[in-house]
């Protein structure tokens, strides 16, 4: 039997790379994830923060197209998680809620977070597995 591959959670730099097309890695990765039917979790706060960083309408359009892909699941921020997210953000991410939201999503689903080497320590300290961007 072929085991069903698990999902992955995106941090802000991974989603930015996909939207801006700075490298081809994240876009190639989405094609692979889609082909094998694996879920791509995009926390709503990660998407919002990525959108804040994008200046061009064309890049925002690519962000929307990425998030509309069949295997992308946008994860809303639940009011019930607010206190835990605030604490996670304070303890491991210098107050950044988007990173905390990605970490909490990853921890609960048991899926790795895709992020940069520079941000990985916070996720590991928060109890999430990490897959590093190239």
């Amino acid at each position: 039997m072929i085991p069903a591959p698990g999902g992955r959670v995106l941090d802000v730099p991974a989603l930015l790379d996909a939207a801006a097309g700075t490298t081809e890695y994240m876009r190639a990765w989405l094609a692979v994830m889609t082909r094998q039917g694996s879920a791509v979790a995009v926390p709503s706060t990660v998407r919002a923060r990525a959108a804040d960083h994008l200046a061009a309408a064309a890049e925002l359009a690519e962000l929307d197209w990425f998030c509309a892909a069949g295997t992308v699941l946008e994860v809303p921020l639940a009011a019930a998680d607010a206190a835990e997210l605030d604490q996670l953000a304070k303890d491991h991410f210098r107050g950044e809620i988007a990173a905390a939201h990605a970490a909490l999503t990853a921890r609960r689903r048991g899926w790795p977070v895709i992020t940069t080497e520079g941000r990985a320590a916070g996720f590991r300290a928060a109890g999430a597995d990490v897959e590093l961007l190239p």
């Binding site: 992955r8 190639a28 990765w29 094609a31 889609t34 082909r35 094998q36 039917g37 069949g70 080497e117």
Partner: protein
Amino acid sequence: MATKKITITVDDAVLARVRTAVEDGQADTVSAYISEAAAQRVARETRAGEIERRWGPFSAKALAWARKAAGAAPEPADTAYLAEIEAERAARRPTA
């Protein structure tokens, strides 16, 4: 929808699970179950093809990393590309 009768070969263990699913009411027939699975695969391939047409073609190096990051089975050349990526990452690290 028009249908056609075909003969296929299925792994014994998979077929046993399919038959159990049908007995449990998850599908009307074995054919319906297999057809739905095939339709889902076709939909995934179609969507992946749309991504490749919009943003591809992707380099072998990018696909090597993509397979690793997705937990997909590696291809023979992937090890060399992944070593290259790790070397590039190491070169970007600030020296102590």
